[in-house]
């Protein structure tokens, strides 16, 4: 089947995985390590994490069986994994049906384990953690299926991690969390949380988090969210991407981007490029910008890629300018890579 491209990116060598990717939101995390000329990729499937490190010459694989409390092998399913980059350290965070685990970035040592409180969920409801982001240069925020956002205070080193706050403004399962990747305008928040109903909350982080605005749902799940220069980019179950003003919650753009449920969004902070991947097999690259005169938000389509016969479940830029990106899909034991021509 012919791929639909506009020539801006071309397909590069794929990365083989030891196991296939699960159909879960935001199921690809990428950690570029330009200083060491390495890039790390990870996806989840079942109770394990598939990690690959690429160094331009070859690949090395690592499988992480999520352990609970460091003892028994887990029978719990992972929902997501993400590298959280803080000024002093990088942690690999895994969320599952049982709770939240944090590892050193290479997955070698578990530094923290937080069990979910099953009793705070009604009996027939699924219990899991989902939605991971580093925020405010000091915190890691993780969402739960009951709508809570747990804020963990992360010391520069060591295992003395603590829950500093619990945010209780969502009534539905958290889907994704994103921190400001660029420069927040004055008064704008630096964290956005999204849930199953499609409600978005914009926060300012700190010793105490404050809710700045709440963007109401319109009937569709928001599965993925990004925040850049005060613009919230949200991907929805009806295939739309919507851009909002973080300060006011005002809708600034509406894109009929995909024919199916969006599963992943990513943003390249140095250029404002936005990447979207969905169940419809397509991955699109967009360009966000601000009109300096009118202060209007603009979005244009740059590139489209059809990942044949694949329901995309993860898509990430591999560098801060958005010159390359990686994609994976349900049942796929590969990560496809694309680079600027």
């Amino acid at each position: 089947m012919a791929a639909a491209t506009s020539g801006m990116y071309r397909k590069e060598k794929s990365i083989q995985l030891k196991s296939s990717s699960a159909a879960l939101y935001n199921n690809l995390s990428v950690l570029p390590l330009p200083g060491r000329q390495l890039t790390c990729f990870s996806t989840v499937h079942g109770p394990s994490l598939s990690m690959v490190t690429a160094d331009g010459l070859g690949f090395s694989h690592r499988q992480l069986q999520a352990k609970e409390g460091g003892m028994t092998v887990s029978t719990s399913l992972l929902t997501q994994a993400a590298w959280c980059v803080l000024p002093s350290r990088v942690l690999l965070v895994l969320t599952s049906q049982k709770g939240i685990q944090m590892y050193e970035s290479d997955g070698s040592i578990m530094v923290y384990w937080h069990a979910l409180d099953v009793t705070e969920h009604p009996p027939a409801q699924a219990v899991f953690a989902r939605g991971i982001a580093a925020a405010g240069g000091r915190f890691i925020c993780v969402g739960t299926s009951s709508g809570l956002v747990l804020v963990f205070d992360i010391p520069p080193k060591g295992t003395n991690i603590m829950v500093s706050e619990v945010l209780e403004r969502h009534c539905d399962a958290i889907t994704d969390i994103a921190a400001e990747l660029g420069q927040a305008p004055d008064g704008a928040g630096d964290l956005v949380t999204a849930d199953d109903a499609g409600t978005l909350c914009v926060w300012s982080t700190g010793e105490e988090f404050a809710l700045l605005s709440k963007i109401p749902a319109f009937g569709c799940t928001c599965s993925s969210v990004k925040l850049w220069n005060g613009i919230v980019a949200a991907g929805y179950g009806n295939g739309q991407i919507r851009l909002y003003e973080a300060t006011t919650g005002l809708l600034r753009a509406e894109v009929n981007a995909h024919a199916r449920w969006i599963y992943a969004l990513d943003l390249a902070p140095q250029t404002g490029k936005l990447l979207s991947g969905a169940e419809d097999s397509f991955v699109h690259v967009w360009k966000l910008s601000r009109n300096l005169d009118t202060d209007d938000v603009e979005v244009e389509h740059c590139h489209g890629e059809c990942v044949t016969d694949t329901q995309v479940c993860g898509a990430r830029f591999c560098d801060p300018e958005g010159n390359s990106f990686a994609v994976t899909g349900y049942d796929l034991s590969e990560i496809f890579r694309y680079g600027r021509t």
């Binding site: 889907t175 009937g219 799940t221 509406e254």
Partner: protein, 389 residues
């Protein structure tokens, strides 16, 4: 993950099983007056279908099924269908049962994957139930049971949000992960590639509630639209004409879940070159879930207690073969790849000899297969028996 997945999985897989059995029974049936003692007739076929459907929609079993719970493993679920397939006078060898289960699971995997909206899985389920009601249209007693299940589905699922349905769908997709068995009817219809992966179309109607991709709208501070642009993709989508009906009766619109088999189309699977990725299979064996086995015992026992044996009949005479010849079936059993073995758990339904005698006695009193209004009564007798378990 979602605790409401099992009823949908069970009913849809059960529906596919009935489509396949019906097709095979029709393909192998001989007109009644010409049939030898060990050959299938139309009357036998209807009897088998009625028996299996009655068992499948058993009230107590359904109650148990609808309780919020985690999904069983593929192995554990296979044992439930083993029991279900043997709820009547029909017998299947291991190889045929394996093939049947492969076909059922690949068919439902396809349906789940291609559902336009996660909520449409409910429409797929209703398509299966509509077809099941057609199979038993001459037996009003069983019809009632199916309608009751329909009501239960509506009660359980109609209030779920799109996000919760997507979680159910994601749970199902985890269950089906890494299954790439090639099914000849799918290959012929070009819905499956030769590598076992399904074809995902990028044209046709978008899901109900989704817009055709292509339009970008931008708004100013006052909420007025100030700019409108379009982009093109490789896809070729149109808006759907109408939404499928979620009522007891209605046009479902969606074709997924309807019967794609007919007498003339063979149901074959290809073992070679299938599932190369074995990681998930291997892991399933390493960490058995003792709780699932407990519950499995209970469900399998429920079904085992409803087993009807043909009095004095030779077992081999009423065997159904999912392959074209006995030799093929034998060969399939010998050459099935190790990684695709379901390693069926053999659970002896604890039936005392006295109970078997009781069942035989009841069987002896029943006439062969003309559907009667009294068939509802038969169900109650068996239930009463089961209560005594």
């Amino acid at each position: 993950m979602s605790a409401r997945t099992l009823p949908l999985l069970f009913l849809n897989l059960g529906g596919e099983m009935l489509y396949i059995l019906d097709q095979r029974l029709r393909a192998q049936s001989i007109p009644g007056d010409k049939a030898r003692k060990d050959e299938w007739t139309d009357v036998d076929r209807k009897r088998v279908m009625n028996d299996i459907i009655t068992t499948m929609f058993n009230k107590k079993f359904m109650e148990e099924l609808f309780k919020p719970q985690e999904l069983y493993s593929k192995k554990a679920l296979r044992t439930v269908y083993d029991r279900l397939a043997h709820a009547s006078i029909m017998r299947l060898n291991q190889a045929s049962m394996d093939k049947l289960y492969d076909l059922m699971t690949m068919a439902f995997k396809y349906q789940v994957l291609l559902c336009p909206r996660p909520k449409d899985i409910l429409l797929v389920t209703f398509n299966h139930l509509d077809a099941i009601k057609d199979f038993i249209r001459d037996a009003p007693g069983i019809l009632n049971q199916v309608d009751e299940t329909f009501r239960q589905l509506t009660e359980t699922y109609s209030c779920l949000s799109a996000g919760e349905f997507q979680l159910i769908r994601q749970t199902l997709l985890i269950f089906f992960q890494d299954m790439h068995i090639r099914v000849s009817i799918f290959l012929k219809d070009k819905v499956q590639n030769s590598n076992g992966r399904f074809v995902l179309p990028i044209s046709g109607p978008v899901p109900w509630g989704t817009e055709v991709p292509g339009l970008i709208r931008m708004f100013n501070h006052n909420g007025d639209e100030v700019k409108r642009t379009e982009f093109t993709t490789g896809g070729n989508y149109v808006l759907p004409q109408r939404e499928g009906s979620f009522d007891l009766y209605g046009d479902r619109v969606l074709k997924l879940g309807t019967n794609m088999y007919s007498v003339s189309r063979p149901v074959e699977t290809h073992m070679s070159g299938s599932s190369k990725n074995l990681a998930s299979h291997a892991k399933e064996n390493i960490v058995p879930n003792p709780l699932a086995k407990e519950e499995l015992n209970f469900l399998a026992r429920l079904l085992g207690g409803l087993e009807i044996q043909k009095p004095g009949g030779s077992e081999t005479g009423f065997r159904l073969n999912l392959f074209t010849t006995d030799e093929e079936e034998e060969n399939a059993a010998l050459t099935r790849p190790e990684e695709l073995s379901y390693k069926v758990i053999n659970i002896e339904a604890t039936q005392e000899p006295g109970r078997r005698a009781e069942l035989s006695r009841i069987m002896g009193e029943l006439e062969v297969a003309e559907p009667r209004p009294g068939s509802a009564g038969k169900g109650e007798e068996l239930l009463a028996l089961m209560d005594g378990l």
